[in-house]
Symmetry: C2
Subunit: 250 residues, 2 copies
DNA sequence: GAGTGGTCTAGACCACGTA
DNA sequence: ACGTGGTCTAGACCACTCG
């Protein structure tokens, strides 16, 4: 009774997914092309609806396809923004009154909304880095070409920025870094931590993410002269919309 | 006696997923704890098996839980490696005979396997950057504490490294960068591009990735004096195992 | 052996987009 | 109006893990 060498073929849904994936990666199906739908797969392979759905779900969860209600399943488009990690934060940028965002988008239209500014108790992590218990927070969402691509929350020590333009909706030319400079706390060094993970439901909603799209989480700490942390910025990026670039010397 | 579903609210499977997610994020269910299984959810909520599966699939695809055949569904563990983008590639590192990997793992055991070295025709992208049509490639896989965490492929201009230790399995103290230095092409500048996406099936297999785990794709170009590209390194990291850190001045 | 997740069938009704 | 994907039921058999 031992035995039965159980040879394992791939399940049907996986073989169908493999075949469709090949067509996408080989370019036989291009950006935005329509995939065979549930009904088409049922007929073509003689399978149940749930099995056809399962095959499509594989590609959707891989981020290769996006379903459109009442219409079909389509090959996903990919058009990333290049975000320069160091050049964009050079002193010349904000010293000349440019928004950081300007160096990323190269003329593509962008917008900021969902701006919320508040004084809050610092989270454990932020409080430890900034060495304070009360912070001012600037939360906002960035969109490019009408599509939301990034959520950001900047934290400042409350005592440092209280009553300044840093806590106003419009921070003026050069943004908060220029204002911090005027306060004698110009950032001179930055440290960024980059992670990637699947989005939480709130992020999925605010960034309008289809299934199969990870987010890139960037946590930046801005340090003034003497190594004093003056800002923590927690950013959540649509991974399908970004390429991060970092340059450094050996 | 079935109740008609109310469609102004979230679907059942999503509400169940939300509840379980809350328990995970609030810490009520900790790392490695067992979630209620399919049968438990069927009984508890009076739903069909497929619906219970759907609820669990949400959490699995979010990377919050991992299914174990014949056993159950468990809260996922998270234990990242910190990878320093600039410090680790400083000249002192490889000039002192240290492997780059040493600066990442802080004493945790690591291993390299699946090493394959070959002379190949360059891909379109790599060929353009290196300005050559033939390349030597070093492919390998890194594991930490017995778990695979990274795939890497380093490309070098074939003419530059032909017959040198760069194309040998053991590249000697300080690794390929030290060897390139001896050839008069020491890297002086690095440029890294960071992306995140869902893994392809081959990557899922080699990195042993559970569903819901993105990969971080890092493409590094090493430039010698005069801006000549001497290496392109394409890395694929298990996103659940890494935190990338980049430091730079304003 | 009992329980678990993995795959699959054959139906059903719904909300939605497009024509 | 029709076809699409979204949700759900009620079964079934399998391979696997664990006590």
């Amino acid at each position: 009774m031992t035995e039965s060498p159980v040879h394992h073929e791939s399940p049907i849904y996986r073989r169908i997914a493999d075949r469709l994936r090949d067509q996408i990666l080989s370019g036989a199906l291009g950006d935005g092309d329509r995939l065979p739908g549930e009904n088409a797969l049922m007929n073509e392979y003689g399978i149940a609806r749930a099995t056809a759905r399962q095959a499509l779900a594989v590609l959707i969860n891989e981020g290769l396809a996006v379903p459109k209600r009442g219409s079909g399943v389509y090959v996903r488009l990919f058009r990333p923004i290049r975000r320069h990690g160091s050049r964009r934060l050079s002193r010349e940028q904000w010293a000349q009154g440019l928004a950081i965002w300007d160096s990323d988008t190269r003329g593509r239209s962008y917008a900021v909304d969902e701006v919320r500014i508040a004084r809050e108790a610092a989270s454990e992590h932020v409080g430890r880095v900034l060495g304070t218990e009360e912070v001012w927070v600037r939360r906002r969402r960035y969109s490019v070409d009408g599509r939301p691509v990034q959520l950001a929350a900047s934290f400042f020590p409350a005592d440092l920025v209280e009553g300044t333009a840093v806590v106003l909706p419009d921070t003026g030319p050069g943004g908060v870094y220029a204002r911090l400079g005027e306060l004698g706390h110009a950032p001179v060094h930055f440290s960024e931590e980059v992670r990637a993970r699947m989005p939480l439901p709130g992020e999925t909603e605010l960034l309008n993410l289809p299934a199969g799209t990870p987010v890139i989480s960037v946590t930046r700490v801005a340090l003034a002269e003497g190594g004093v942390a003056v800002e923590v910025n927690e950013m959540t990026l649509d991974a399908a919309s970004y390429v991060l670039q970092y340059d450094f010397d050996a």
